[in-house]
């Protein structure tokens, strides 16, 4: 049982003291966005020139928002911590981007994409937002093609699609295994165009250190020039955070090394509520951990599940032999293999949503069927795909009675054309040849559905502070479907935020430039300098990574794929203690001046050490299983997630009150007017 007294958690009856206003427009679901766009206030072009907007982060959401806002006429100041906006971690997205185009004529529609996304999110997302996302998804593809994004095409010259987990249509547009790269470079090119016009002032190698709130409104940021070490004050009429997700709280994740929560966390501490922080996506197909020095995990695109089959040995003695290296997977007979996803979920098989696939892998490995030295890996096997594609190819080529060898060879060529770069990457990292032996995969932290709470306009609870892309909580509920993150990032940045922000900025046309030397700015700057000084002057003995690793272990073990009240309570205490130790014993080399990545890392880890605690608290309070959040206390007899819709059909939005564990819960009730809540079934 949870120790709610100690943790000052509101009791069930207390949940709902304060209901958040999502500002969803009235009217039928399908008309809400159109009507809203027609009714919100606009800022005329002459006035837009008088207004400054800060955009933090240059991934899909940030780049597209900055480019669009600049195009509309606002003066945009864009910030990224990388050496170029093109390197934001959206670049690493592999599989694809969803859009309800129905080019494949398989019955897809805006409604189906909407429905699949809400269902995939296990009914914990806001209907109106998701429907809007599905609506604008179509424009994204048009826009990107117009920008010269080289999506994969068929021989007829038209766009190709592939299918992804959790859906029964083919609606994913892709560019080999580098869709995120191509989309980001598209947004980056739009951004570059505005930089060349002087409409965007780009600040590379700058990290946002603090939000500045003046008279209750977000009016700027404190940023650190990472190269010179200088702390700078930047003012604007509104601030957009598109700073990505916080999966790095687990230390090992598929995120980039620099990905962090700091921008969002600083906003949280300045009054922005953090929503559903415990909703983390653990991606089922990553390359397993190989050693303690490991710095990050590499994803193998979910698209591999299209054609690959996932299995473990059916006999535990075989699994043991495989772990010892005395048995090779290819030597295990077909009847001795357990294709557990196909067994458990015949309707969706290997294409169940990510949360389901990940848990199923963990279940098998926990039972002792794991296939690498650590016991934490399952097979992703392409042997049958080689055969299937090979036969088709042999037919196409008109070969009569081709040998099995020939069929496999032809099949491998087809697979190489589709997934060659992923296979190469696997081989590069593991030194195993995936064309000859099944790949080993295991789930890893990949994406965070939680984030800053935003209303329908993407505004946080701090007026004038917006959040877009993975940084907000909005569209994916408790689990994100594959190929939807890219869709959401670009939808927010290109097609939603640039319109909705006008409604707020319409009040600012006579405000004039925001001074950056007001007391609020000076105070925020001083606070940032204090934090940095405290870190650099700390004469501890352990490197930052030491603490980060330990935080990651606590999070993975207690707030990972399966959680329970007891572990979560324990984790909250452990994180709190670790944070204390961090400030006592961390060693940050170098000086405040100049380029000092260790100092920057320390500041980020300090924030992650607070966030982790809130995540555990959120997970503790949500006494149900939904999507990526699986509470062991709440499962069906078959071990499937058990949602508790009566009590938990709401968004948890946490208000900062000093210590993370003292955060106060506000809730936004989720109303489903167009979709009937069902227990998800992929059987």
């Amino acid at each position: 049982m949870t120790d709610s007294k100690i943790l000052n958690i509101p009791q069930q009856g207390d949940l709902g003291v304060d209901l958040l206003q999502s500002r969803v427009p009235d009217g039928p679901l399908a008309d809400k966005w159109t009507n809203h766009k027609n009714n919100i206030r606009l800022v005329n072009p002459a006035n837009k020139r008088l207004i400054d907007v800060i955009v933090v982060g240059t991934g899909l959401a940030g780049s597209s928002a900055a480019a669009s806002l600049a195009e509309m006429g606002y003066n945009v100041h864009a910030f990224c911590f990388q050496d170029s906006p093109r390197r934001a971690h959206s670049i690493a997205a592999q599989g694809g981007i969803n859009a309800a185009k129905n080019y494949q004529n398989d019955g897809d529609s805006v409604y189906r994409l909407f429905y699949d996304t809400v269902k995939g999110g296990d009914y914990r997302s806001r209907e109106a937002n998701v429907h809007r996302l599905a609506e604008v998804s179509r424009s994204i593809i048009d826009q990107c093609v117009a920008q010269g994004v080289p999506f994969a095409r068929e021989y007829g010259g038209l766009l190709d699609n592939r299918s992804f987990g959790g859906v029964q249509v083919s609606r994913t547009f892709y560019a080999k295994g580098q869709t995120g790269q191509q989309l980001l470079l598209g947004a980056y090119s739009a951004l570059s165009r505005q930089i060349s016009k002087g409409k965007v002032k780009m600040y590379n190698r700058h990290e946002m250190m603090e939000i500045v709130v003046v008279d209750g409104k977000a009016r700027g940021i404190i940023a650190k020039n990472l190269v010179t070490g200088e702390v700078e004050r930047h003012s604007a009429h509104a601030v957009v955070l598109a700073s990505g997700g916080y999966g790095n709280v687990f230390f090992l994740s598929t995120n980039a090394m620099g990905s962090n929560v700091s921008a969002a966390w600083k906003a949280h501490k300045k009054g922005a509520y953090m929503a559903n922080p415990c909703f983390t996506q653990i991606h089922p197909t990553c390359i397993p951990v190989s050693g303690h020095y490991q710095s990050k995990l590499t994803l193998m695109s979910e698209s591999l599940r299209n054609d690959g089959r996932i299995w473990v040995p059916a006999k535990s003695e075989d699994a043991e032999a495989v772990r010892k290296g005395t048995l090779k997977p290819v030597d295990i007979a077909e009847e001795d293999r357990d294709y557990y996803l196909e067994r458990r979920y015949p309707a969706f098989g290997n294409l169940v949503p990510r949360d389901v696939a990940s848990r199923a892998a963990k279940e098998r490995c926990d039972e002792g069927y794991g296939v690498n030295e650590t016991g934490e890996a399952v097979y992703l096997d392409y042997a049958s795909a080689f055969e299937r594609y090979g036969k088709t190819e042999a037919n196409v080529l008109g070969l009569e009675n081709p040998s099995d060898e020939k069929i496999r060879e032809l099949g491998k060529a087809v697979v190489k054309a589709k997934y060659g770069n992923l296979f190469d990457m696997y081989r590069q990292i593991t030194d195993d040849n995936p064309y000859e032996t099944p790949m080993k995969i295991y789930p890893a932290v990949h994406y965070t559905m939680g984030g800053l709470w935003v209303d329908y306009n993407l505004m946080t609870t701090v007026p004038g502070l917006y959040a877009a892309g993975e940084a907000n909580f909005s569209d994916h509920g408790a689990n994100r479907l594959g190929a939807s993150a890219l869709m959401q990032g670009l939808a927010d940045g290109y097609f939603v935020l640039p319109y909705t922000i006008g409604d707020y900025l319409a009040d600012d046309i006579r405000t004039g430039p925001i001074p950056n030397d007001s007391p609020e700015f000076m105070k925020a700057e001083a606070e940032v300098k204090d934090v940095l000084e405290r870190l650099i002057n700390n004469k501890g003995s352990l490197p930052v990574d030491d603490f980060h690793r330990r935080l990651g272990r606590i999070m993975w073990e207690n707030c990972g794929m399966a959680r329970n009240g007891q572990d979560l309570s324990k984790a909250i205490e452990e994180i709190s203690a670790l944070r204390k130790e961090f400030y006592e014993n961390v060693r940050v080399p170098g000086t405040l001046d100049g380029y000092n990545p260790e100092l920057d890392k320390a500041a980020r880890v300090a924030d992650l050490l607070e966030l982790g605690e809130l995540m555990c608290k959120d997970a503790l309070v949500r006494e149900e299983s939904c999507g990526g959040h699986f509470r062991e206390e709440h499962q069906t007899e078959e071990g499937e997630a058990l949602r508790r819709d009566e009590e938990f059909t709401f968004v948890s939005a946490w208000e900062y009150k000093g210590e993370p564990k003292d955060a106060v819960l506000h809730r936004e009730e989720l109303e489903y007017e167009n979709i009937e809540l069902k227990q998800r079934s992929y059987k």
Binding site: S64, Q82, R87, D142, A146, Q178, N204, Y595, P597
Partner: protein
């Protein structure tokens, strides 16, 4: 395995640099090159020293941030990989590894192994885009069919990660492979045609202004390119530039 590392240390763009020697033991073949560097830095910090500064981010070979010149080669031995994907199994026990930053006038050293590749951004800003507003009110994506071969070739050019290995490798520090990849991507697509001539002239002009060297067709860039960008792109840019020069923008 035990290694001797000779690492370039430089405090700033105008300071003089030097090669420092470090001994490192306990390195395993499954470590990536950057994880080996992490171990080195961990040791340095624990001993109270200043860790080696190097650029890195995604560590899966796509962001283009990592940039080390290892034993005389951009991104080290091996083809088709970035530094982050290079694994220590490519080295042997007892090896000496020399690690240097990208060296080019256009890529000034920021610190140690980190360089400033802002020149690449400015080249893109000079014209590496299609001038279309982001309203979403464009043609339906399937209105203009594009032959698969052209789309695929445009994609191949577009896979450039902007890491700068081409510049680092080229004995002349030329950026032709990078620039031509972007020029080619748009030259191959119908969407890129209206600005084709203007784009190539502006981007080449900016490239020259940045102080990159001239291409002498050694082909080293393409060999060392982690994404295998082809020399055909350079030829295409040469052709397009000539065409633009003769006919005007």
């Amino acid at each position: 395995m035990d290694l001797t590392l000779k690492v370039w240390r430089q405090d700033g763009p105008t300071e003089k640099g030097r090669l420092d020697t470090h001994q490192l033991s306990g390195v395993t073949g499954d470590m990536s090159f950057l994880e080996m560097m992490d171990v080195l830095n961990d040791n340095i910090i624990r001993e109270g020293g200043d860790p080696v500064v190097f650029d890195h981010d995604c560590r899966e070979g796509i962001c283009g941030m990592c940039s080390m010149f290892i034993n005389g080669q951009a991104h080290g031995p091996g083809r088709g990989v970035t530094t982050c994907q290079l694994h220590m199994r490519s080295f042997k026990d007892g090896d000496t590894i020399t690690i240097e930053p990208w060296r080019a006038t256009a890529f000034p050293v920021v610190k140690d192994l980190t360089v400033d590749r802002g020149a690449f951004d400015r080249v893109i800003q000079a014209g590496g885009y299609v001038s279309v507003n982001t309203s979403g009110e464009t043609l339906d994506a399937n209105t203009i069919p594009i032959a698969k071969a052209d789309a695929d070739e445009a994609f191949n050019a577009a896979t450039c990660i902007g890491c700068g290995a081409c510049v680092a490798t080229c004995k002349n520090a030329s950026a032709m492979l990078f620039v031509s990849a972007k020029v080619s991507q748009f030259a191959l697509l119908p969407q890129g045609q209206p600005e084709r001539k203007r784009r190539v002239t502006r981007m080449v002009d900016q490239m020259d202004k940045e102080g990159f060297g001239n291409c002498t067709n050694t082909g080293a860039c393409s060999v060392e390119c982690p994404k295998g960008i082809d020399l055909t792109n350079i030829a295409r840019m040469n052709r397009d530039y000539l065409n633009a020069s003769i006919k005007g923008e």
